[in-house]
Amino acid sequence: MHKIARRMAIVLALCAASPTGLAAPATPASTADHSKFGELAGPFDSGEAVTKACLKCHTEASHQIMQTRHWTWDYANPATGQRVGKKTMVNAFCIGDQSNEPFCQSCHIGYGWKDKHFDFSDASRVDCLACHHSGDYTKPFGFAGNPVTVRSEYPPGSGKFVEPIDLARIAQAVGPTRRDNCGACHYNGGGGDGVKHGDLDSSLNTATHELDVHMDKDGLNFSCSTCHVSDQHAVAGSRITMTAADPHPALLRGEKTDRNPAACQACHGDKPHKERLIDAERLNAHTDTLACQTCHIPAFARGGVSTKMAWDWSQAGQLTAKGKPFQKKDGHGHVIYDSKKGAFVHGQNVTPAYQWFDGRVTYTLQDDTIDPTARVPINVFHGEPGAPNARIWPVKVFHGRQPYDVERKTLLVPNVAVPGDTAFWYNFDWPKALAAGAEATGAPFSGKYDFVDTQMLWPITHMVAPKEKAVACHECHADDGRLAGIEGVYIPGRDRSPWLDRLGWLAALAALLGVALHAIARILTHLRKED
């Protein structure tokens, strides 16, 4: 016992003395303490003033970020030839940005984008703090992406006030991007925590191992940028141009490559399972047909935050007897009806749907003609069943019901969120809201509108479960399993030749019957002889 105690003491002493030992004092990771910079002493009366200070040292930062979609919200997709990006895309949630910019641009990494006249070349309008603050920076709805530095009444005349924040203190505490920086917008798309994606919500800020093995706060504790590596402020990974298949080994540090660092295979390779020799790489053979996510994300919205599965705008606008908007909640406290928005369906621990996907996504854009007699796909994930460049992917299937122009057969963007006479949230008047929205998008509006069923797909790629919780074999290798109806792949346990089965069982039955009759005949003839 003494010996062990003495050895332990020596080990502990060594640890304490070692520069990497547990007992060593924590060294800041960065070589720069921004709180010591005179440029950041403040006070700052606007976001632009902070950015100008940042640019004194980080001279190229704005120009870098201005090349990216985080700034432009605009993207010409080379894979499909479509002009997409949040600026003009239509979705099945809050539908569209145009005419709602002062509200929606809270999630733009810039200051003052309130209409189409925003100056995209003004470097001082880049919002450095949105992605680099340490926790208490906010860009309230309604201020066109500006932080509030003076106590302000919002909506005007409402008697409700937004309190100012101290930009100097926030600027002095900047650092590398954190999960909550990205999450402020990427968790809250669609107007609330977890609403859109299903696999991204605030539960990831304090993720358990169970929720996400990479973001586990007591384990690997990855930030978003650990996988979504950025180079010159261009962040890897996109749901518009996805990496659906990456049949290559893991990347080596420093390797010259065009591959997407956010893909699982970038670190794990495409044959990651260590298997017993006798299993002959059975699991690794699955990666030719399945995305990693298909088995390793058994369900989404697993962190206790629900995601919206359906949104019916056609129900919006019901008012109380006194003409006031109202909300209804379900037993879990989730809003299932809101006069401003319509009716919702929520989901937690949702089993994804599955489909072939090769990374190409096309969207139904503002000008595209729709067929209102069927459910309109807001986006389509392309991929030929069984194709070498496609994999079976998990997706969230979201159902919407949203306004469209009955004569022009196009989807409509309503003006909803900006206080004023045309905004739906303030006057509950669809024709006005849709006319104002159409004007902002530049599209003609016939004045005749109705609501159409829509569908929107979201790739499921976050919330990677521990391997013990991966989708079990029998969940797909079965009739009516998770992959029921997926073509282009033979799945043992799901697929079989019915005629061979009939023939085989018939043969076995015939054999059984034959031996049974033979046995009976033997017994009967034997008994007769005994008599």
Binding site: I278, P492, R496, H518
Partner: protein
């Protein structure tokens, strides 16, 4: 059955042979049970466990066969499986008619000729037809991950291989049914099974039935 002729005991199945037979029997039944679960015919162990057991059984049976082939050739026992046409019809007629009337068994088992002509033919079909179907498709199935490296990608589909493998399984199932039933057709119902357990069988003691126990 009437025992008009004197009987004697002979040592037909040697220790290795019996070990081979019974371990093979267990493995084949295990593979049928797990195989049809993988096929989706019913749910018992669960797909994953069924696959594990099926694979493990396959490897075990391969190892057993490696030893058995060695044993067959070193002992010369492989000759027991050379087919013969003599008394083939007589055997068939016996199973169809004679067995009911108490006619004498047309074949006299000896240590050197322990399988009757029908048995020999059945085992030959098993070895030359059913086995290649099962093992050929089974090994391709097992090594699916290596098809690309083996250049088989463009030639085979998993569906074809699985279908052939299933066809083989049904053939094996029919064999097992017939085989198990025919064990009851000895001079007593359990005589054959007892022989396969102890090695000793009781046969009619006609002239020169052979040595009772080989060296």
């Amino acid at each position: 059955m009437s025992h008009t002729t004197p009987m004697k005991r002979i040592y037909v199945f040697k220790r290795y042979e019996r070990f081979w037979h019974w371990s093979q029997a267990v493995l084949v039944i295990l593979m049928l049970v797990t195989g049809f679960e993988i096929h989706g015919s019913y749910h018992n162990l669960g797909f994953e466990r069924a696959v594990r057991l099926h694979t493990l059984s396959a490897w075990t049976l391969l190892a057993l066969w490696a030893f058995t082939i060695f044993w067959q050739f070193t002992t010369g026992e492989w000759r027991q499986y050379i087919p013969t046409a003599s008394k083939l019809v007589a055997m068939a007629r016996y199973y169809m008619f004679g067995i009911f009337t108490g006619a004498p068994h047309p074949y006299h088992k000896t240590v050197l000729k322990k399988h009757n002509p029908l048995q020999r033919l059945a085992y030959l079909v098993l070895l030359a037809l059913v086995s290649p179907v099962i093992w050929g498709s089974g090994l391709l199935y097992l090594f699916y991950a290596y098809w690309g490296r083996l250049g088989l990608d463009g030639w085979l589909s998993l569906e074809q291989v699985a279908t052939v493998h299933t066809a083989g399984a049904f053939m094996m199932l029919v064999f097992v049914i017939a085989h198990v039933y025919l064990t009851t057709t000895g001079h007593t119902v359990f005589a054959h099974i007892k022989a396969m357990i102890t090695g000793w069988d009781t046969v009619e003691d006609d002239a020169g039935a052979g040595a009772t126990k080989p060296r």
